[in-house]
Symmetry: C2
Subunit: 478 residues, 2 copies
């Protein structure tokens, strides 16, 4: 026990210093390490394995809904980046520039992609000619670079991994339908696989993507009450199409501009999982994206029969569960706290006494609950419990979000709420950017989105008192 306590003591309590707790979990759960490149991290095997499971889950959903993967160049010529005015203004200040290739100084500098709209548009202009070529439903898995000033593992790094979907459609309606369809896929994925409830809505104009007509987002709430933008989906209308001259001949032989969308999900959601589910013993992973769903720890492994029996259980479970057995010579207590730190959903302990009784001890990471399981029912019990854990984690996150969602009718009320108990604050808004600025200045909260599910909190804007147009979710955000 002393060993276990020792290891747990290595991480900061989340109540004492949430930011330090977060960094401790990232390091101690072996998710990431710092690198020699300022603002960039090393994705360690355990962290990358979580990302691989996210990729697998999302990629299957993208393919199922008719999307195809492509790969575009890493570099964008400056002239290409500059073709869409809003887009270049939004991104140029934060890109990395390549100015030399081999021994030659480049005549035109290239930026490392901060996002790939311009490359996709240029490709579409070559590709799309007729209504028969539409829709084009592409996606790309890659890394992007944005020269952030302050960085934090997963949440904000100069290089991060993501997918960027880029589609082209014949009509405005189809592009809008795609934008919302992909937002819904992100929501379903977050809820069902990451056990993270989200608020779905439209971003205000000041928060939308550079070059978009409309940006939609899903927003989640971390356990410290701050919000995290969890995925975005953009409707570009025909703005990029006009800048890049992407036209097609419709069925009546008329030239028309395409309507486009893009949508993205990034490795920052590894940070989201940490901050929604984690506790003072470390990470808690939802079974849906847990690289190890069940860890088997043999007790008194030197005693005859223990390792054989443990291996038998591992093989049985391995048929449809991600299971691992730890046979290293570390003490069981050390292993218990190690896999708690790593957030493995279920731990099985098996020693000589358990084998005598044809049972093993099962410990749930989400509740800490400990129970003896008859080995004849092990497989069905583990399957049932993995589902229960997934559901329980979602319910817990939902309850937390609900308990931390407030409403306010004035800036004073909003300030008071956010200064005592951070969370989402629902409040009315007139639609003006100056009121958004005022809210931010007075409360530190930004508009997260204008949720699809509107409520009537009051008649007037929380900031200016004029007639309100929308109910908005506000929060201090990562």
């Amino acid at each position: 026990m002393s060993e276990k306590k020792n290891m747990v003591e290595q991480i900061t309590n989340m109540e004492d210093d949430f930011a330090q707790w977060y960094t401790d979990v990232v390091k101690k759960a072996d998710l990431a390490d710092y690198s020699d490149v300022g603002g960039c991290i090393v994705f360690r095997p355990y962290g990358y394995a979580v990302w691989e499971l996210m990729q697998k889950g999302l990629d299957a959903r993208f393919k199922e809904s008719g999307h195809e993967n492509v790969y575009m160049p890493l570099m964008i010529p400056e002239s290409l980046l500059q073709k869409e005015k809003d887009h270049v203004e939004g991104f140029a200040p934060e890109v990395a520039w390549v100015t030399q290739g081999g021994s030659e100084k480049l005549t035109e500098k290239y930026c490392i992609r901060p996002t790939s709209e311009t490359l996709f548009c240029s490709h579409y202009a070559n590709l799309i000619h007729s209504w028969r070529d539409l829709p084009v439903l592409y996606n790309q898995w890659c890394s992007v670079v944005r020269w952030e000033k302050t960085t934090r593992p997963f949440l904000r790094t100069r290089e991060f991994l993501w997918q960027e979907g880029h589609t082209a459609h014949a009509t405005e309606e189809e592009a809008q339908a795609e934008t919302i369809r992909m937002l819904n896929i992100y929501e379903e994925f977050c809820v069902n696989e990451l056990a993270i409830p989200v608020i779905k809505g439209r971003k205000s104009d000041s928060e939308k993507f550079a070059g978009a007509n409309a940006t939609y987002s899903i927003e989640s709430l971390m356990s410290d009450g701050r919000a995290l933008q969890s995925a975005t989906s953009h409707n570009f209308g025909d703005g990029f199409a006009k800048a890049f001259d992407i036209q097609y001949t419709d069925k009546n032989n008329q030239l028309r501009y395409v309507h486009q969308t893009s949508w993205g999900f990034t490795t920052r959601m590894i940070g989201g999982i940490i901050m929604v589910h984690g506790d003072n013993s470390g990470l808690i992973l939802p079974p849906g994206v847990s690289p190890v769903q069940v860890i088997i720890i043999p007790i008194a492994a030197h005693k005859p029969g223990v390792l054989d029996k443990a291996e038998e259980l591992r093989k049985l479970l391995a048929l449809d569960i991600r299971v691992k057995m730890d046979t290293t010579d570390k003490s069981p207590g050390w292993k218990f706290s190690e896999y708690e730190m790593k957030g493995v959903p279920i731990r099985l302990e098996l020693g000589p006494k358990d084998i005598e009784k044809n049972q093993c001890v099962l410990v749930r990471r989400d509740t800490g609950e400990k129970q003896a399981i008859d080995l004849r029912e092990l497989k069905s019990t583990v399957n049932r419990l993995l589902n229960e854990i997934q559901t329980n984690m979602l319910e817990k996150a939902k309850s937390h979000m609900e308990s931390r969602t407030f409403s306010a009718k004035s800036l004073d009320e909003m300030s008071q709420i956010l200064n005592t108990n951070q969370g989402f604050v629902k409040a009315m808004w007139c639609g003006s950017e100056s009121c958004e600025d005022l809210v931010k200045e007075r409360t530190g909260a930004t508009s997260r989105n204008i949720p699809f599910e509107q409520e009537h909190i009051s008649d007037t804007c929380v900031a200016c008192g004029e007639k309100a147009e929308h109910m908005v979710y506000w929060a201090r955000a990562y």
Copy 2:
């Protein structure tokens, strides 16, 4: 028929102009497109899907053999690249340099990774302390940039996709065993999945990787008789470990340097598949990495029952085969040549007359053979034929390689062979770099590798006539 002829005529005959034939296949089979970035391509959905299947096959083999995936930063600080002398000399001339991030001019320039040894080494120096930490068996899937002067889709591009394995071991023997183990995995993958036979051996010193003690390769032969380096595996000894100070405490409490390896496989092998298997109708994909293994083409699709029956077959096959049905309004003849161009291994044609007889027509892409198949036996027949096609393609490639492997005892003989009939030439070598240079100057051939399976062609070096040390495979290469 006229349509079909028309489409086929769009590609150059390989006998007339092999290079143009290659480019035509890349474009017409929708594998890749040119981009706005000099020397970089767009991986189109079909080409990227082939790469995804290669990734899946290799990744499963890497994980099965105990390797874990990680992700390192895209950029390398100049000072880090310079730590290993041979390495920086080999790569510095061909890297792209990032000199500006956002609005700040960087105080130290970063290169875009041409390969990631230096980043892995720096991480290992933090990670590895004790013999308990070894071996470290990591792999990374990413893109790399090398500022090539002349480029060609897949074969040589300024940015390409690859995997790079990086491992650290306690002893020299373990590192050597890993180097060969990974070379064997590449060989098995090329032979069994890509249907490409390879020559396995060690590279000469002049051809080895910058910073390696020894480089091993597998080499394959294209249908025009030129060789393609298909994968490499390097033993670094403790050279990088000394440059980066990667030490561990062994069981006797002694500080020791680790021994390292790296190994890589790239998207150039998409080019290899094109050039080993393709013909004048286009690409021929081995079933192992074919995104569509079976294409179903309904004939007279407007007639009652045809589409329903075709969909029934599609569903039946989809259980364990990558199958697609083409229901577009293009003519059957057009579709036939389109999927021939794309190299789909099996085509099924199903029309009203076939349905009456409870059969369909099956056409093999590799042999062009056409046969009527009883629908009750469709599934088993398709499975059997996919295996047969895979085997047949490998056998055909083996026969070709054998028929194009020659031996020579003098430079004149070697020249004569290569000027009439390109291929591998087996010839003896004394081991000196000057003789390699002479062979290249006189015949255009480079040493591909010193094969593990040595033969005795003669007693003396093909170039200088002094005592020979090794039998070498020589060829003109891509």
